[in-house]
């Protein structure tokens, strides 16, 4: 076995962890270890999301780095990593069928425009021009032309593959039990299987499980977990490259480069799910509800066959945006968790910024608002 110490240890082989490893290596720091709890890299939310590379609808604390990723990183990512990550920047339509929907979309669009994002509400005719396959019941939509989508599974594995080639050491089936300080500084990562790793900087990017890990050194991040499901259709003739959502939030998704459609949806009963975090079972209720929602907006897909359903856990943060920050009480630790179901599209920027934090550089955009100690009592 190779040595078990490194300049940087990243806990979590998801898209953020793999991207961070890659950007560190790119800047010359190759003494990096990534620990993935599962046997597969990208087993968690990184491979279980709709692939949205979205700026519209983002919180103002996130939008600057979401835009940074879209403007500076996504367009060249496939070339840079040597794997086609299937990035399409053809815009995002969020569809409305009622006046209440349009009012909601107007609100979202005006808020995004205030933050400098090109997003407008368009009428039914324009919607049809952008995407002719939609139901006549659609009376308008919000439109953000610079949004897009990519393949999350390939993106995660592309970062992993490239980081491996550059010398980063990855350990899978390496579940972390606890962290330990040495002389007041975070130093040790102890696995369930007993092995001990030691690092100068330790990044915790392990999805919801980050909470269990951080807690072993007295830091508790207010996360909760939420189960999200999606369905995949058989290959269809090419219809559109845009990302779709609805004002009602009853489904979202896109047609993949392969031709299949990937749509996320819910049954409305998700709050009552009581399932262990290691379980990833889908519900028969969700896929049926999803089909009704999708057919209500894209009637042509009624005869499309579903070949697969899947689900995964989202690490929801109390206030809807992640924690990306160093921790005063635990020198040497950097937290990156609570991505709340929209962490995929920002992963290139987050990986870059985490690498900059490790190196003591200023991050490309200011993310001080994502500090771990921002949560104050509200009563």
């Amino acid at each position: 076995m190779s040595k078990m110490t490194a300049d940087v240890i990243i806990i979590g082989g998801g898209v953020n962890g793999c991207a961070t490893a890659y950007y560190l290596a790119k800047q010359g720091i190759t003494d990096v270890i990534v620990l993935e709890a599962n046997k597969s890299v990208g087993h968690g939310g990184s491979s279980r999301n709709g692939g949205g590379v979205r700026q519209s609808g983002r919180d103002m604390r996130e939008l600057p780095y979401a835009m940074y990723a879209v403007n500076n990183m996504w367009p060249t990512l496939s070339e840079e990593l040597g794997v086609d990550v299937e990035y399409y920047q053809r815009g995002n339509l969020r569809l409305g069928k009622t006046d209440a929907h349009i009012a909601k979309l107007e609100g979202m669009a005006s808020k995004s425009r205030e933050l400098g994002l090109n997003m407008n509400v368009v009428d039914a005719k324009t919607v049809k021009e952008i995407c002719p396959y939609l139901s006549d019941e659609v009376i308008g939509a919000s439109w953000c032309p610079t949004d897009g989508h990519a393949n999350p599974m390939l993106t995660t594995l592309a970062y992993y593959k490239r980081a491996l080639e550059m010398g980063v050491r990855f350990f899978t089936d390496a579940k972390v039990k606890k962290l330990e300080k040495v002389k007041g500084k975070l130093r040790k990562v102890i696995l369930e299987s007993g092995e001990v790793f030691e690092g100068e900087t330790i990044i915790v990017a392990a999805g919801y499980e980050s909470r269990y890990i951080a807690r072993t050194v007295g830091v508790d991040v207010p996360l909760f977990k939420y189960f999200e499901e999606a369905l995949v259709t058989e290959m269809q003739p090419h219809m559109f490259d845009i990302m779709l959502g609805t004002a009602d939030a009853d489904f979202y998704g896109h047609q993949a480069q392969h031709g299949s459609f990937v749509f996320g949806s819910d049954s409305g009963l998700e709050d009552g799910i009581d399932m262990d975090i290691d379980e990833l079972k889908t519900s028969s209720l969700t896929v049926s509800a999803g089909c009704r929602a999708i057919m209500g907006y894209i009637p042509l897909l009624a005869n499309a066959k579903i070949v697969r359903t899947w689900g995964g856990w989202i690490d929801m943060c109390h206030d809807g945006v992640p924690v990306i920050s160093k921790v005063d009480e635990v020198p040497g630790m950097i937290l990156a968790c609570g991505f709340t179901g929209h962490g995929f599209g920002t992963a290139p920027a987050v990986g870059l910024m985490l690498s900059q934090m490790v190196m003591g550089k200023e991050t490309v955009v200011d993310i001080s608002a994502l500090s771990y100690d921002r949560f104050k009592s509200v009563r």
Binding site: T172, E234, R292
Partner: protein
């Protein structure tokens, strides 16, 4: 715990084989050579392989090629196929139209 870099060293570099162009996953048209190269790029599990290449993700969902892919991965990793975990199977059992799937009696509030 699996040390990926060590394992990559142990299995050595990818060496081209005469039958690398054999189609293994017919639904998604994935060849034996692509699967073998993916292993040498660090994709050691059925889950990673299918996400990287789409093998077993087409109409039959790996019911035809699953065992074959497993055998190829095992040989490349120099382990028994028994050590390679099968990929998760997911509903529905057979491809099913949306209009059929939609008829579960739900949507009470619509």
């Amino acid at each position: 715990m699996i040390d990926i870099q060590e394992k990559l060293k142990e299995i050595g570099p990818y060496v081209e084989a005469a039958d690398d162009d054999v189609l293994v996953c017919r639904c998604e048209e994935v060849t034996k050579g692509e699967i073998r190269q993916a292993v040498h790029a660090g994709m050691f599990t059925m889950e990673e392989i299918r996400r990287y290449l789409r093998s077993g993700m087409g109409l039959c969902q790996g019911q035809t090629c699953g065992k074959l892919v497993k055998g190829i991965v095992a040989r490349e990793l120099k382990v028994s196929p028994l050590e390679i975990e099968p990929a998760t199977s997911r509903a529905p059992m057979r491809p099913t139209e949306m209009r059929i799937m939609a008829q579960d009696g739900g949507g009470a509030n619509e």
